[in-house]
Symmetry: C2
Subunit: 492 residues, 2 copies
């Protein structure tokens, strides 16, 4: 099945495999910015200013024939004039200049280029020809290209951000986006919500490197645990699915496929020159392979976060601990996603009753704390009762009660042993709680309504890989992602 | 159709109609707290501490036979001993004491009581009898009851919060929740996200006043434009739908109905003694009447916010202005919800082309700014082109470009005429933008990815009733709510 035209000649052997080229692009020892500028707001300025601000440790070479220095760095008239080896080049010059400049990059021994420049296939026939030309140049010279018409990359391990003005928190979610502005925007919102990224790439027109290449690279990337994709269309759908079939055995893949409606496909076409292809065909193949599709863009990160740090469950049987309506809504949301909530056996119910306040209803599943005050240790004990059961594969609960919930000004140094006893016990309870996923090989997902600026519990849960969400439905979706991937893993 | 047992005798004429009683409860000149306490954390403490902190201007009378003073207020041994008129009483004492205390309230001439106390029908047969007893007492004495087993109320107009430690922003969304903890939690998260509330009530077991009564009251409430409900079950489903059928002609009603799955129904039963009833029957009646159902709890506020301040559209034909993937995703989300995106006629396309950067694709719908820098005035001009069209009923766009996006430290005093010209023009552009919904009687929904701490544009849009969301899908849902209610209004 072809979703779209394959522009790579059959059986062609590329001089630099995509995985190697992408290693040079995401972890360059040195890179050049062709079209470097000292005018703020220009792409040639941002591509230097941002990596300097995000702490890139390698060398940056501004290329501009009219300047001696840009942003405190020595500028060179051409890339050939740089007296050092260069792994990667970023091009920000007008489209027509790109073929000749790429030629120079090849001559210099650059392995990969990020082509920010727009004005290629997305603009019509002339642009399409120019795009074919840069691909021909790259193929002949053995260089590999990100873009064109893209917004660059982010690499947490290299402290290298071309796309974000402020580097997001480092984490193990890789995000590949076909839309620059939108991808950068949702990645920024995600970062502000605390989702940590390992890599980000705005893939633009995919003239050379395409979604499948990024997948192949990220499958090998030690910093990446889960791969999230925003895709409008494919250059080579068949190859994407071939690669995805292999990669998914190692790492989960979550995709938001845009351009499902006719009106949206029209927009995608003028945006990144992509033919969206049939949504039904795409859905079916994803299902076969085990690629998890989301139908709301932010769900990418919600679900990825759970997959980034938690053990994958053996089945779909979950227990919920929560108060009142939260348990009811959480249960509805789980059931709607095919998650089972087995009723507790009499022995477990009795053991949990002993840990609940007297006015709480008889523990079934969900288990209701009935709004009562409890301690982190009590919560950890109840959850441990759940996790011991062979008919429970995972738990959805709350962020354990934090001493900072009652005293916002409390500064907690976890190494200090001088805390008030209730604070000490809360920390111990939290630590016991956070250790449970690894101890039992089963996931715990947490809900938090209250937003605390500083919260030790959040930090403690993070160490256990436990994600925190602000609604029962988000928790259910996160658990669904884990259950889904557990199924994929058992099948492969 | 009966969703559940109707405990109100047929044809009974209540001495105090629910609307009058609820007026006394939401806007009391004076109220008593029976079971008042000076121990922080106790309900009898919170019920005094919170309204004092939220600026309640009326009188509060703590009732406690063992105290002379609580939180700086004179305490009285009984409500009868208070030497002043009292509109409302809050009861926090053990369940068994409630019937006699209600009797005293009746004797004192109190019109409504909020019964926080738990231990009624939600606990089993004995509790059910006790609940029947308090209803009998209330009926005989003509007092009306919120609860029991509830977390109280919030009234923005009275600066009265029994349920929130910090009063949420005043606004025109009323929220009625059958779950206390969950309702309070999601209302708090909503408030933190900037959704303004007019009233909130945790309805508990609905022994006397039920969802239908709150609807009737809120339909008359001048501060409320839209009514959001979290419901697990009904005491009298038939009456709810009768009332909803009338109320919806005046104000939109949005409902999240919990307990749809068997497991969740089990949880709801032990939680607020509610029989959930058939989800299918409920769904069908909502559809007939025009009550908008959501299947994710937070969608209540997203959708309510649009309905709170915008004109209702005449049809479902929408234009989108946005960059790249945002337009693609927004289009997909709209189409999935039954919203049409008509292609633009040649004349309009030409007029808009003149307002776009030269590299932008030909404007169809969605219209793509192609990531270009633009001004608030340009955005307002394009949106005005849309709104003039007889085949466009509403617009989804961005928060217009704000000067504070480029300079976070900029403090903008809109009355001052001393701003730099580009700041002045941005403010004028924003004001023109914000005036468009009223000028054309058509809604505008805004997307904002960047989170700014201080943003004049946000304030300006708020004056025009324009809501701001952080994803294209949220914008689409908000527009869907408006389109839906437009249809309901034309039908009625």
């Amino acid at each position: 099945m072809k979703l779209s035209l394959d522009i790579r000649p059959e059986g062609e052997i590329l001089k630099i495999p995509s995985v190697h080229a992408l290693h040079s692009i995401f972890n360059p020892r040195a890179f050049a910015v062709i079209g470097a500028s000292d005018t703020p707001g220009k792409w040639g300025h941002r591509m230097i200013d941002r990596p300097l601000k995000t702490g890139f440790q390698g060398a940056i070479y501004p290329i501009n024939p009219a300047k001696k220095e840009i942003l405190g760095l020595t500028a060179y008239p051409t890339i050939s004039a740089v007296p050092a080896e260069i792994d990667m080049a970023v091009l920000t010059t007008p489209a027509a200049s790109v073929p000749a400049l790429l030629q120079e990059c090849i001559h210099k021994g650059v392995k990969g280029a990020v082509v920010i420049s727009a004005g290629f296939a997305e603009t019509g026939e002339a642009g399409r020809k120019l795009e074919q030309e840069i691909v021909a140049v790259a193929r002949a010279g053995g260089i590999r290209l990100v873009g064109p018409n893209c917004m660059g990359i982010f690499s947490a391990s290299a402290h290298l951000s071309l796309c974000f003005p402020i580097a997001p928190k480092a984490g193990s979610i890789a995000f590949v986006s076909q839309s620059g502005t939108f991808g950068v925007s949702i990645a920024q919102v995600a970062a502000a919500q605390g989702y940590g990224l390992s890599k980000f790439v705005s893939i633009g027109n995919q003239a050379d490197l395409g979604v499948a290449d990024y997948l192949e690279y990220l499958a090998e990337d030690a910093q990446t645990n889960v791969i999230a994709l925003y895709v409008e269309g494919f250059k080579d759908g068949e190859r994407f699915f071939d690669v995805a079939r292999r990669v998914i055995k190692k790492k989960p893949i979550i995709v938001y496929k845009a351009g499902r409606s006719e009106a949206a496909e029209r927009a995608a076409l003028s945006h990144t020159a992509s033919v969206a292809g049939s949504a039904v065909v795409f859905d079916n193949i994803c299902k076969q392979i085990g690629v998890l599709q989301v139908h709301e863009s932010f769900h990418l990160f919600e679900m990825a976060q759970a997959l980034a740090g938690l053990p994958v469950p053996q089945g779909n049987r979950v227990a919920i601990l929560g108060s009142g309506g939260q348990g009811v809504v959480g249960t509805d949301a789980c059931v709607a996603l095919g998650i089972d909530l087995p009723q507790l056996d009499a022995g477990t119910a009795a053991a949990i009753t002993a840990l609940l306040p007297p006015h709480a209803p008889k523990p079934r599943n969900p288990v209701d704390f009935a709004g009562a005050t409890r301690t982190a240790m009590q919560e950890a004990e109840i959850i441990e009762q759940f996790l011991k059961l062979d008919y429970i594969d995972g738990v959805i609960s709350n962020v354990p009660v934090s001493p900072q919930l009652w005293d916002h000004h409390l500064v907690i140094d976890r190494q200090a042993k001088t805390h008030a006893p209730h604070v000490q016990v809360a920390i111990q309870g939290g630590e016991r709680y956070a250790a449970l996923p690894r101890k039992y090989g089963k996931p715990i997902i947490c809900l938090r309504f209250a937003n605390l600026e500083h919260d030790t519990m959040e930090e403690i849960l993070g160490e256990g890989g436990i994600p925190i969400y602000s609604s029962p439905e988000q928790c259910a979706r996160a658990m669904h992602a884990l259950v889904h991937y557990g199924r994929v893993r058992r099948r492969n």
